[in-house]
């Protein structure tokens, strides 16, 4: 397994791209809610669309559309699939 896979923040993947979650750098309640929604390490997340203002961004996770703010999504590390 390639341990040198580059991870990028989820907020940077473009619309339509799919990233696989590597780690969550968020704490507290946000962490819990994201985990409860199934965004655990290894889960594929697809960037679907951005709000007219560019923020928040809607992601498809396990058949559900979840919107996250830019700064929160930037704390989630993914590798591009």
């Amino acid at each position: 397994m390639n341990t040198l896979l580059t991870t990028i923040p989820l907020s940077t993947i473009s619309i339509g791209a799919i990233g696989q979650i590597v780690s969550l750098n968020v704490q507290g309640l946000l962490r819990r809610r994201i985990l409860d929604l199934g965004m655990v390490p290894g889960t594929p997340v697809q960037c679907i669309r951005k709000s007219p203002a560019g923020d928040p961004i809607a992601y498809l996770v396990r058949d559900t559309l979840i919107a996250l703010r830019n700064e929160d999504a930037s704390q989630i590390s993914v590798t591009l699939l």
Binding site: L29, R32, R33, D36, L37, G38, V61, R62, D63, T64
Partner: protein, 256 residues
């Protein structure tokens, strides 16, 4: 359960959860993720025989409704929609406390057929708390539109509990649902809920704690569930245990 215990149980329900049951009434806790059509199921079954309010002492919505099927009266308690019951928010705590300590006769978990995986998270967690559970897979009509097929028999086999497919919006499957609830109330529906298998690290930790927990709480709660809550550092749950189990112990003293 002795006669005294049943009456005391109902008293606890009234005082701590604001729920009053008539004699012989079968209590059904209704759980599910947000946006799965839980209210549709609730409204379809209870019609206008419902009233809304708050859970005692909390700013969380509570809805209760009743219906009769055959000769049985049912009281349905609509729990707040939650993604999980690991209790990080007040809504999850309310749902968790009611299922754990309110001892509903059965918990009906409503799942969304179009995103079953995420919904199973809640179902599996509830199955860990209580074996008295029925799963309802709702929005089957939406699943068909999205070319998603849910194999109910397989699901039932995997979960080990009754699974009823419904499209509550169209009224489909509700008859079967009532029937399964009825059979459950007669003790005819046997459940053998699938146990969640955790990774080695977690399982080892559980095994360390379970024997001691069993000695402490006996049969009131699933010791595996309690162990997991403690390992998760769930302070609110510990407070709840002390609060509700203290009450049970006092009642046991009275019954003797």
């Amino acid at each position: 359960m002795t006669q005294l215990n049943i009456e005391e149980h109902h008293r606890i329900l009234r005082e701590h959860f604001g729920i009053t049951t008539t004699p012989g009434q079968f209590t059904v806790a209704l759980a599910g993720n947000p946006n799965v059509g839980k209210s549709t199921v609730f409204n379809a079954l209870t019609g206008l025989h419902q009233h809304t309010g708050n859970w005692p002492g909390k700013t969380v919505d509570n809805a209760q409704g009743s219906f009769t099927y055959r000769d049985r009266s049912f009281l349905m308690v609509d729990l707040p929609g939650t993604y999980s019951i690991l209790a990080h928010t007040i809504e999850e705590q309310v749902a968790r406390d009611f299922i754990c300590f309110g001892k509903p006769d059965v918990t009906l978990v409503v799942l969304d057929a179009t995103c079953l995986e995420r919904n199973l998270n809640l179902a599996l967690q509830i199955m860990e708390i209580t074996p008295k559970i029925i799963v309802c897979v709702n929005l089957m009509d939406e699943a068909i539109k999205k070319n998603i097929t849910v194999h109910i028999a397989t699901l039932q086999k995997e979960l080990g509990v009754p699974v009823v497919p419904t499209a509550a919006r169209n009224g489909e499957g509700l008859g079967d649902l009532r029937q399964v609830l009825y059979e459950m109330s007669l003790g005819l529906a046997l459940t053998n809920p699938r146990q969640i298998i955790y990774s080695l690290e977690v399982e080892t930790a559980i095994q360390e704690l379970v024997p001691k927990i069993s000695r402490f709480i006996g049969h009131t709660l699933n010791p595996r569930w309690v162990a997991l809550r403690l390992l998760d550092g769930d302070q609110a749950f510990i407070a709840s245990i002390i609060h509700y189990l203290d009450l049970e112990n006092t009642l046991q003293e009275l019954a003797v």
